[in-house]
Subunit: 325 residues, 2 copies
DNA sequence: CTGAAAGCGCTTACAG
DNA sequence: CTGAAAGCGCTTACAG
């Protein structure tokens, strides 16, 4: 039993393939009674349009490529899912590629996607801007969680929330705060570090910096010792995963949180709420980042003008922050 | 600047498109010097084969569809990544679809994938076997984390490890053990529950069952109260996420782990190690499940005979289990 | 509203 | 080892 095609349907109905095709893609151009017959026999025959054929004819694949640095980092799954759901709205599916923290050259992976997608969403890419722009070679692209000159961007601005977090710590009596910086090649890491530094320079607080560190649990864990040695009583971590690592490291060292030290994360991923006590963090509208990215990408693909979007994170106070001793 | 095609390369070199095509797909059929010229000008022109055209001609899309119930559950990201990396080995990419815990009919999502993939990997599908088999409509498919009659399967057998976990608890003096069952429609949940029941019936222990529950953090959290009320001193949770929820719930109730109660998870996802203390659990070879699934799928696609694969989980003792008071 | 025909960019017998 | 040609299953001007 071969797969049904528009021809088998056409033959069955004694009409032309053109009409069958139109019944699906331009239903308004087909007489209603005919359209219904087509749809009905299509269903009966289990017809599914051949995407390759359609793609070849239209130049559109109905696929959006999504590149993430590490799907294992709990920030990305909700983002990817939101992208996928929003894309489904446009009859598109998601081609997912993980560049691996190791960094299997992002440009290589992009190249692999290029020939099969209508557009690309690069989430937190690490490669240099020039490299990225060369790699995408003109393919409609939107960058999430990073600004790249000349490419549409969807980011979350956590500046204000991070500064509020800092202020929250100072208000609680903390005077020495550790800043755990994320990966040097991560735009968000630099952005966040800068926000904290700016705040610190104008506040009654001493900032002690550590890093750059990889945004992994283990890196945060290892940093705990240095944090304790520094005499800091509070920690601002690049992200929740890292904060989580610090928490584990501090526990190993017998330090209590929030009793002896306070810890603040960033992003508010699932992990933040599964901890006991729950993590004080900056909540990012992850799903909305994903949805907006798809929206913007759609416009780029259609050649419409687009504006960068910048959402904002909000401080969420939970159990890992408390007054300094 | 239009995209380069085999024709532009052929013209540039004064050879036929057939030869250009062969230089890529059947290099052994092309004189070396010619092949090299082709490859070189291809690179110079930034040529990328049009996947739609290739797909239409060969009937292969180079895509494998992966359906997960909830990419947000930390079990799936490493699985998906392993699948993706292994697929890359076969020059294939991953089309990811999340059915959402809500359960956007899996068969609908499968239908959406059908026309664009060479094969399907269904991870922990929830739909009934008959429904699944009808939905895939003959497309090469392998099922991960579930057995479906007539479909090749890649699972992790945790029976022995779970029974060891139980024995570990009994040895530590626990006589009343709570079993938190996972979703009724999840094959693994039933499998695990059965393993525990079998063990319990032959051991000096009283088993108290709760559930079925959704495999979410909150469900475990809510269950804590009942667990405490039951007088159980130890908990076997369907998976780590649920175990994590119980831990949080117990903490809210002021119960210490492993002081007053012991908790055991299953899968050993990232979450298990980010907890303090770390979670005693059954470690599943998640990456290998993914790789094997792709291997098996490859054989199915090629029409080779396949055997189901069953890997085994191993008990990993960590910090959430201790002798009963 | 409908059909005949060309074309999308590949692959692959077939013939040399 | 190479080329001419047909075909994969759609879409879409073009003509009616």
């Amino acid at each position: 039993m071969n797969r049904a095609t528009i021809y088998s349907i056409a033959q069955e109905l004694g009409i032309s393939a053109s009409t069958v095709s139109r019944a699906f893609t331009r239903p308004d151009l087909v007489r209603e009674s005919v359209r219904e017959q087509v749809l009905q026999t299509a269903r009966r025959l289990g017809y599914q349009p051949n995407r390759s054929a359609r793609g070849l004819a239209t130049g559109r694949t109905g696929l959006v490529g999504v590149l993430v640095p590490d799907i294992t980092n709990p920030f990305f799954p909700p983002l990817v899912r939101a992208i996928e759901q929003q894309a489904a709205t446009h009859d598109s599916d998601v081609l997912l590629v993980d560049s691996g923290v190791n960094g299997t050259a992002e440009s290589v992976l992009i190249g692999r996607l290029l020939s099969q997608v209508d557009g690309l969403i690069l989430a937190s890419p690490r490669a240099r801007s020039a490299t990225l722009k060369q790699a995408i070679a003109g393919t409609p692209t939107v960058v999430v969680n990073r600004a790249v000159q000349g490419l549409p961007t969807v980011v979350c601005d956590n500046t204000a929330a991070l500064q509020q977090a800092g202020q929250h710590l100072v208000d609680a009596g903390h005077r020495r705060v550790a800043l755990l910086c994320g990966p040097a090649s991560a735009w968000a890491a630099n952005r966040r570090a800068r926000a904290v530094r700016t705040w610190a320079s104008g506040a009654d607080v001493e900032l002690v910096e550590f890093g750059p560190l990889e945004a992994q649990f283990e890196d945060g864990q290892r940093a705990a010792e240095d944090v304790v040695a520094s005499g800091a009583t509070a920690v601002l971590a690049f992200d929740d995963l890292m904060a989580c690592g610090v928490l584990a490291g501090l526990a190993e060292l017998g330090r209590s949180v929030p009793g002896e030290l306070s810890v603040v994360g960033c992003d508010d991923v699932l992990l933040a709420r599964t901890l006991t006590p729950q993590l004080t963090t900056v909540t990012a509208p992850i799903e909305e980042l994903g949805r907006r990215a798809v929206e913007v990408l759609g416009k780029v693909v259609d050649g419409e003008p687009v504006a960068n979007v910048s959402l904002t994170g909000t401080l969420t106070l939970r159990g890992t922050t408390a007054p300094a001793l």
